[in-house]
C-alpha cells in the first residue's frame, strides 16, 4: 500500500480522493499496489483533516503529495518542504508552476523525487507527458491550444447567436465561469498554460508576464457572422512559435479545415507541429473535477513507479527566455488567422 496526502480538499483535491477510491482496481493493475489517502490537509475544519503540513512531511509513510490548493502560498512552502524530504509532489497549480516550477523541479531532482504537473495544463488531456515522452525527439515548431474551457464555452455560445454578456451569464449560472471572470475572459489563464507549454518544448523558461494577452471581451456577434461567412470560427488560442520565439494569447480565426475548429463547449484542444510527425492534436476536458483529478492521479502513478528516482520533467534547468515577441497582426484586421 502506497500512502499519499492531498493538500487542498476543494474541487480537484476531493476529485483525486474520488478517483483513487473508484478506480482502485485499475490502479492496482498498473501499479501492482494500491493507493491510500492517508492525509488530507485543508484550512477548513473538515472531519479527519489535518492542518499542519509537518504532520504529513514528517511521516515516512508518505511517498507522494498531491498539491491541489492553487495560488502561490502556502502551496510553494508546502511543496518545497515535501520535495526536500524526498516526497514527490503532483500539482494542478499552474500559477505555482509558472512562478516557481524551475526552482521546485531542481529541488526534486536534488532529492531524488519528482515534481509533476500534468493537471496544470489542459485538465484531463495528457499533453505534458506526451510532449515530454512521445515527442521529446521532435523539433516542435508550433503549439497552438484552446486552453480555457470557460472562454471556449462562451465563444461556442456566441457562435450559436448569443452576445458576450448573455453567454458569460449562462456560463456563470452553469458554474463554468467564476463570479469574477477576469482571469478567464482576459486570457490570463490561457497565458499561464501556454507559458508552461512553451517552456517545455523550447528549453527556455517563458513567464506568464512576458506574454502579450488579449481576451475575448471585445468580440461581437458581427465578428462571428463575418467569420462564419468566411468558413471560420473564432477561438481564444495560446500560440507558441519556435521562430522568434513568439508567444501570444488572443482570439484567432480558425478555418474549418483545422481540427481546432471543431473543439467546442468546455473542451480543450492542443495542436502541435513536429518536424517528423507533422501535426498532432489532443482533445479532452480542460477542466472539471474528475478529468483534472484523473491527470493528477496519472502523475501519482508515474511517481510511484519511479520511487527513489527523479523523473525529468524538462523544467529543472530552464533559463529565462531573453525576449518574447508577439506575432504581428495583419494591418487593419481585428484577428489573426491560425494558418
Amino acid at each position: 500500500m502506497i500512502n499519499v496526502a492531498i493538500l487542498g480538499f476543494g474541487n480537484i483535491g476531493s476529485g483525486v480522493a474520488e478517483v483513487i477510491e473508484k478506480n482502485q482496481n485499475e490502479i492496482k493493475k498498473v501499479l501492482g499496489d494500491s493507493l491510500h489517502v492517508k492525509y488530507v490537509l485543508d484550512i477548513r475544519d473538515l472531519p479527519g483533516v489535518v492542518r499542519d503540513i509537518n504532520v504529513i512531511v514528517n511521516d515516512p509513510d508518505i511517498k507522494v503529495v498531491c498539491e491541489t490548493m492553487g495560488g502561490k502560498e502556502p502551496a510553494y512552502t508546502y511543496t518545497h518542504l515535501a520535495l526536500e524530504r524526498g516526497i514527490s509532489v503532483c500539482s494542478s497549480n499552474k500559477e505555482l508552476v509558472d512562478a516557481y516550477g524551475v526552482e521546485l523541479s531542481a529541488i526534486a531532482r536534488e532529492h531524488h523525487c519528482s515534481y509533476l504537473f500534468e493537471a496544470s495544463v489542459g485538465g484531463g488531456v495528457p499533453i505534458l507527458r506526451t510532449l515530454r515522452e512521445a515527442c521529446g525527439h521532435e523539433k516542435i515548431s508550433r503549439v497552438a491550444g484552446i486552453l480555457n474551457g470557460t472562454c471556449n464555452y462562451i465563444l461556442t455560445n456566441m457562435k450559436a447567436g448569443k452576445d458576450f454578456d448573455s453567454a458569460l451569464k449562462e456560463a456563470q449560472e452553469k458554474g463554468f465561469a467564476e463570479r469574477n471572470p477576469a482571469a478567464d475572459v482576459e486570457g490570463h489563464d490561457t497565458a499561464r498554460k501556454i507559458a508552461i507549454l512553451a517552456s517545455l518544448v523550447s528549453g527556455k523558461k517563458f513567464s506568464y508576464e512576458q506574454i502579450n494577452c488579449e481576451g475575448i471581451t471585445n468580440i461581437t456577434s458581427e465578428d462571428f457572422a463575418q467569420a462564419e461567412a468566411n468558413g471560420m470560427s473564432i477561438k481564444l488560442l495560446g500560440v507558441y512559435e519556435a521562430e522568434g520565439p513568439s508567444v501570444n494569447v488572443a482570439p484567432y480565426l480558425v478555418p474549418k479545415s483545422n481540427p481546432l475548429y471543431n473543439v467546442n463547449d468546455v473542451f480543450n484542444g492542443i495542436m502541435i507541429h513536429g518536424n517528423q510527425v507533422d501535426n498532432l492534436m489532443f482533445y479532452g476536458r480542460g477542466a472539471g473535477k474528475l478529468p483534472t483529478a484523473s491527470a493528477v492521479v496519472s502523475d501519482v502513478i508515474e511517481c510511484v513507479k519511479n520511487l527513489g528516482h527523479n523523473i525529468n520533467n524538462n523544467f529543472a534547468d530552464l533559463e529565462p527566455v531573453a525576449s518574447v515577441k508577439a506575432p504581428d497582426k495583419p494591418a487593419g484586421q481585428k484577428f489573426r488567422v491560425l494558418e
Copy 2:
C-alpha cells in the same frame, strides 16, 4: 553511443534512419546519448546492408532492433531471436503484433528487454503509450477510431462529390492506396488495429479474425448526400465497447458535434472514453514514412531509457477473449450512428 539495427529498409525503415539522423540533437537531449544505426538488414542487395540476422543478434553492441519489415515471416523469427538475447524490439508491424504479440511480449519480459509497437496503430499518433501510461488507471468503456488513412482519404473525397471508383483511383495515383487496395478498403487493416487497441484496454486478447468487418466499397454518393442532409459524415471506424465486449469495423454515421467528424484526408483520429477523464481524442498522421518512423523512434528512446528492464506493454499475459460480438445494426438502416 547506443547502437541500433533496422530490419527492413523500406518506407518506414529508411524513415527511422532519417529521423535518427535529422533529429540527433533532440534525441541526445532526451537520452543523454546519441543513437547510431549500426546495421540495416534487407533482402535487397543494397550497399552496406547485411542479410544475415545472426550478424545483428550476435553483436553485443546492439541494444535495440527496429522491426519495420511487415508480414509474419521472417519478422517473427527475427524478433524472437533478438528478444531471446535481451535485445529490445520496436515494431511497426501490426500483422505480427496481432498474431504473435502476446508470445513475443512474454519472451521480452523473460529476457529483461522490451517489445513495443507504437507505430503499428495510428502511425505518428502516440495512442498506445497514452493508453498504457496516461490512462492505465481509467475504466475505458469505448475506443472508436479512424484508423486507416487510405479509407479516410477516399471518404473525404466522396464527401466532396467524387464516387468511390474515382476517389480510389486518385488515392492510388497519389500513392495513398495500394494497387490491390483490399486490405484497406475492406477494413482488414482497421480490424488489425482495433484488435490491438481492444486488447490493450480490455486485458483480453482480441484477434483480427474474430472481428466483424465491413469495408467502404458499398458506400454511394447518395449515402453521403443523405448523411450530409442529417448533419453527419460517413467514416470507417474501428469500435471497441467494453460492454459485451463488442468490436466492430464498419462505416458509421458521425455527427458534426463529434470531433471525429472533422478528421479528414489521410489523418487518423482515435477517441476514447474513460470513466473519470470522459472523452479524449488524439489526432495525427496515421501513416506516411516520417510520422510512422517517428513513432518507432519514440519506442527506441523508451527502450534505451529502460535498458536491462522490461517495459510492461500490457500484452504479455493476455488470454484470448472468449467471444466477440458485433453491435446490432438498427433494423432497416445501412449504417450505425456513432453516439
